[in-house]
């Protein structure tokens, strides 16, 4: 039933897998970052309750990783379709885009979670460490941003 070698019937499989990978892996990273930082904030809050709102920053940054995945997944779903309009080239570009943003997101989520946990506990004891924690978190967030950039670049290669 394959209509052509460029757009066989199974070609949407990899595009859909890209959309799914984008949101699944970045959600896993965001969940890890939120949970790990949340544990640190709960422990720190007992001694310094007024620092809670400042310490929500790692949680917000982990949430942004999920938004990167959401944006790339929504972009991919906008362009996928059935064969023969959707070729294997389109499909594999979308697959790669989803994997890029997803796996970069899970890595960044791990970094933000562990740094956030250690950072909020340390900032409660030494307030001068707050700026340092923010700088390290920004470097971690930028890892997710790199995956997002590559994902969007790959998505833009698909013209239909």
């Amino acid at each position: 039933m394959a209509l052509s070698a460029l757009a066989p019937a199974y070609s949407p499989f990899f595009g859909c897998m890209g959309a799914a990978s984008a949101i699944i892996f970045s959600s896993l990273g965001a969940a890890y970052g939120t949970a790990k930082s949340g544990v640190g904030i709960s422990a720190m809050a007992i001694m310094k309750p007024d620092l809670i709102m400042k310490s929500i920053i790692p949680v917000v940054m982990a949430g942004i990783l999920a938004i990167y995945g959401l944006v790339v997944a929504a972009l991919i779903i906008g362009k996928i379709g059935a064969a023969p309009g959707y070729t294997l080239f389109d499909s594999f570009c979308h697959f790669s885009a989803g994997l890029s943003v997803g796996i970069c997101g899970i890595a960044a989520g791990f970094a933000i979670g562990i740094v956030g946990d250690a950072g909020v506990r340390a900032t409660a004891q030494q307030p001068r460490l707050f700026v340092g924690m923010i700088l390290i978190l920004i470097f971690g967030e930028v890892l997710g941003l790199y995956g997002f950039i590559v994902g969007v670049m790959l998505h833009l290669k698909v013209q239909s």
Binding site: C16, Y32, V39, I41, M53
Partner: protein, 216 residues
């Protein structure tokens, strides 16, 4: 101690066992492919044929099953993580028990996300006639993949979200037992965690809505 030490390996043997299992499965696939290639039948090792021959109904139904089962698994996991902390901390501070039920309800919401998506996906499948199947072959194959991945991503995002909300809820209960004002502020973190499941629902609705495999 020796009688209860039933063949348990050393530290990290579970991880080594998992790694060994993955490597063995990968080597099996690679060696089957190499056997085909070296006997001149390389074109018969066809991933695309496998993807197309698995019925679209299989893809759709497995996706629906994963959506509901992994969402409920995430919700349950979160509930037992936070529930154990609530009752544990409640021994010395029983006032926390009613306020911290909110954490358990956040975990329940994750299961509700899963069942909503599963019901949306179920509406898409119905019986087809053979002529209808041949006419819309490519569309039905595509719809099968969409339903599978919509269900898979719902299940996985809700699994992550449920565990996250459970862990944060556990921290909130323990902090609440020490100081009653902390709960509402740590609840903000739980709301961020809940948003992760919501993103999964949004994408699943975009991917899986109106992808019909039916003649009617």
């Amino acid at each position: 101690m020796g009688a209860y030490d039933s063949g348990r390996g050393g530290k990290g043997s579970y991880a080594t066992g998992c790694y060994a299992a993955y490597v063995i499965i990968l080597l099996v696939f690679i060696s089957i492919g190499l056997f085909y290639m070296f006997s001149g039948r390389g074109s018969e090792f066809d991933v695309g044929w496998v993807l197309e021959s698995i019925s679209s109904y299989t893809w759709a139904c497995v996706g629906i099953a994963i959506a509901i089962s992994f969402s409920v698994l995430g919700a349950a996991w979160g509930m037992f993580i936070t529930g154990a902390s609530i009752v544990g901390a409640g021994v010395k501070a029983p006032r926390i028990k009613t306020k911290n039920l909110v954490s358990v309800i956040f975990c329940e919401a994750v299961a509700i996300y899963g069942i909503i998506i599963a019901i949306i996906l179920v509406q898409n499948i119905d019986d087809t006639t053979p002529e209808d199947w041949l006419d819309n072959y490519n569309t039905y194959i595509f719809n099968g993949y969409c339903l599978f991945f919509a269900g898979l991503l719902t299940g996985m995002c809700n699994l992550a979200c449920g565990i996250c909300v459970g862990i944060v809820g556990s921290g909130a209960a323990l902090a609440d037992a020490q100081n009653g004002e902390l709960f509402v502020r740590i609840l903000v973190i739980e709301i961020f965690g809940s948003a992760i499941g919501l993103f999964g629902v949004i994408i699943a609705v975009l991917l899986g809505n109106n992808r019909k495999i039916s003649s009617s």
